[in-house]
């Protein structure tokens, strides 16, 4: 221990007191949105209904609505929000690009390609709704593979080109190219296969079987654990690759961990719920604004809570409580996400080449 005197400095460790308060607030907000998502919908439930459904053990309409529809959907929303936001946060750090996100750089398209191979590639009629047990894992793994392949392509591009905007444009090109491939596959596939694929692309939280929900839950949990484990590495990567190496980071190892994590998160969400836009890019910025830090030990849990609650809120809005109509989820998430993305672009105009 050193015995040096410091000029006007107390030696207490920096305390994250204020950040704890924000965490508590976000935690309760997430719980609130979770229950609102259970209550609100074409049929509004109240607390008494839920209580009744939980403890009466009956098998009426109420129980069916709650356990067969609302609860799985709310859980899915929570998992999807967490998965997309976390993968966005990690991509923004590893590419040192504030506009990186699973949908922007073509990662979701890559996952779609993987899904298209499974749905359109098999001659038997299977769709995400009819898949059972092991088939779910095939769907998810091919989605991971598609997402991972695109991550690697983007990384190769990013190592040669430093300009953020150029990389984004190339990402859009890549997405279009992949969409073209998928269209070709659609062209050669049968009508029933085509239909199940098109329904999948519309994006939905409500079509998951309990098997699929289980697979999604396991995948997102693995993703959360991997993110928490890699928070120290992500902090080092904020400095850029050379500095990260110079302070002792094994960059290859870090990339493998972060890329696997991102592909697992974005891939599994996309496999079951279709491509959902703008959550992955916008939520990490909300966390940065709220916590005013670059430390991933705080940003990761922050992003998890904000991602979950934003997705639950999007789902509540999409249900148009009290009406029979349902809005497309993608439209809602875009309307929430796009203003934040525009704000980030405006703020970064000064130095578009650097993060």
């Amino acid at each position: 221990m050193s015995t040096r005197a410091f000029i006007s400095q107390d030696l207490t460790l920096p305390s994250p007191g204020k950040q704890y308060l924000i965490f508590i607030g976000l935690f309760f907000l997430t719980i609130l949105f979770f229950f609102l998502d259970l209550f609100l919908g074409s049929v509004s439930l109240n607390a008494a209904d839920i209580w009744h459904a939980l403890f009466s053990g009956g098998n009426g309409q109420l129980e069916i609505i709650l356990f067969k529809f609302r609860l799985p959907k709310a859980l899915t929303a929570l998992l999807v929000g967490i998965g997309l936001s976390l993968s966005g946060l990690q991509m923004q750090t590893i590419f040192r690009n504030p506009l990186a996100g699973p949908d922007v750089l073509g990662i979701t398209s890559g996952a779609s390609l993987g899904v298209a191979f499974v749905i359109l590639g098999f001659s038997v009629s299977i769709s995400p709704e009819t898949l059972q047990g092991f088939g779910n894992w095939i769907l998810v793994i091919s989605s991971w593979a598609g997402a991972g392949a695109i991550m690697i392509v983007i990384l190769i591009i990013a190592s040669r080109i430093k300009d953020i905007m150029t990389i984004l444009i190339l990402g859009i090109m890549l997405s279009s190219g992949i969409s073209a491939l998928v269209i070709l596959m659609q062209y050669f596939s049968s009508e029933s296969l085509l239909k199940s694929y098109v329904i999948w692309t519309m994006g939905s939280l409500g079509n998951l079987t309990s098997d699929q929900l289980m697979v999604l839950m396991i995948s997102v949990s693995v993703g959360i654990i991997l993110s928490l484990v890699s928070s120290k590495m992500l902090n080092a990567l904020l400095l850029g690759e050379n500095y990260a190496v110079s302070i002792g980071l094994n960059v290859k190892f870090a990339r493998v961990v972060v890329f696997s994590c991102t592909s697992i998160l974005a891939g599994s969400v996309t496999a079951f719920c279709g491509p959902i836009g703008f959550i992955g890019i916008a939520v990490p910025h909300m966390a940065r604004i709220l916590f005013r830090t670059s430390d991933h030990k705080i940003l990761i849990p922050g992003t998890i809570l904000i991602g979950g609650s934003v997705m639950l809120l999007s789902d509540i809005i999409a249900q148009l409580p009290g009406s029979e109509k349902v809005l497309p989820l993608n439209a809602v998430t875009s309307l929430i996400g796009i203003p934040i993305v525009i704000w980030v672009i405006m703020r970064n105009r000064k130095y578009s080449g650097i993060y």
């Binding site: 850029g240 190496v245 670059s294 430390d295």
Partner: protein, 339 residues
């Protein structure tokens, strides 16, 4: 020096890039050593291989041939993490992470010492505060690095490398892009750090004059090789004479300064003393006149006593000037009209 600890030894080093069977050799047959507490300036033209050499020393690039020893052990025998405790880097890249304050940046210097969660305990915290203080950044501790000036950001980077607690610090042009004031501050800081903390600092620079006055040793890169020595030794050996082969500057070995080679107009005698004489001579040199030791029929009298004007005597005619600027114009006009 004989008893000092050897921090880096470079033996028959060949640096460059290899792609397949093609080798692009940038530097070859290098021999150099760095001892504890030395401030070493790496000097050479653009493209001479300064960055490549520094990158190879820190292990960001592998040597094509030869060996580098850090504290007596071959660099290839170090793990990345072990090496990060021996040598730190400041490169020409700027760190522009959003929402990162100076404390967080410096805390990343503790990366090789913290556990897998990166937790900052009291011991690490104290070292971070020390590093921030040594770099003179205590008042900026909670400022975001995106809000710092270039000079302040470079100090923050120096605090980070200090927190890394390495015996050797490698810096690639640490004063590039800085204004003159910050440049002096950074050089002063580096010089003091080397002396007070016993750190060895190897830095590349284009600022020869600063390097010569501050560095303990110069590694001069030229013709794919390296010449090592105290700045004064290299000066006596005339090593600096040829680094500006084709450029319009010339090194004056006796004064340790650089002058531009300009058109020569002849010589002129200056009468007078003190600081005014000194700057009058400088002005004449700048516009291409040598100062003659013998009285010429055209000469200048520097202001002295009550007399505030410069006088230019040309064939018995006296011209008066109120500033060196006017004097320079007058001298040039007269020398051209007399041709």
């Amino acid at each position: 020096m004989l008893t000092a600890e050897k921090i880096v030894a470079i033996d028959r080093l060949r640096t460059g890039y290899s792609s397949g069977s093609n080798e692009i050799i940038i530097l070859d047959e290098l021999h150099a050593t760095a001892f504890k507490g030395e401030l070493i300036a790496v000097i050479g033209k653009n493209g001479a291989g300064k960055s490549t050499l520094l990158r190879t020393i820190i292990g960001l690039q592998t040597a094509l041939d030869g060996k580098i020893f850090h504290e007596g052990k071959d660099i290839l025998e170090y793990s990345r993490l072990e090496l990060a405790r021996k040598v730190g880097l400041i490169s020409t890249e700027t760190v522009r992470a959003t929402n990162m304050n100076v404390y967080d940046l410096v805390a990343l210097g503790r990366y090789p010492y913290t556990n897998w969660t990166g937790r900052i305990d009291m011991d690490n915290h104290i070292r971070i505060l020390e590093a921030i203080q040594d770099a003179g950044m205590t008042a900026f501790s909670s400022r975001f690095i995106s809000e710092l000036s270039d000079g302040e950001r470079q100090r923050a980077m120096i605090a980070r490398i200090l927190a890394q607690d390495t015996g050797l610090m490698v810096m690639d042009e640490p004063t590039a892009f800085l204004d003159i004031g910050s440049k002096f501050e950074i050089f002063h800081l580096l010089h003091n750090l080397a002396k007070s903390t016993g750190k060895t600092i190897i830095f590349s620079t284009h600022d020869l004059q600063m390097a010569i006055s501050q560095a303990d040793k110069i590694w001069l890169l030229k013709d794919k090789g390296l010449v090592e020595g105290a700045p004064e030794d290299l000066m006596i050996q005339g090593e600096f004479d040829h680094i500006f082969d084709s450029s319009p500057a010339r090194y004056n070995s006796d004064q340790g300064t650089f002058t531009f080679i300009s058109e020569e107009h002849g010589s002129i005698y200056v009468e007078g003393e003190g600081i005014l004489r000194h700057w009058t001579e400088k002005t004449l040199n700048r516009i291409g006149f040598a100062v003659s030791r013998e009285k010429t029929d055209r000469y200048i009298i520097v202001p002295s006593g009550n007399y505030k004007n410069w006088q230019l005597i040309n064939s018995q005619v006296i011209h008066e000037f109120t500033s060196l600027y006017d004097l320079a114009a007058g001298v040039l006009a007269i020398s051209q009209s007399s041709i």
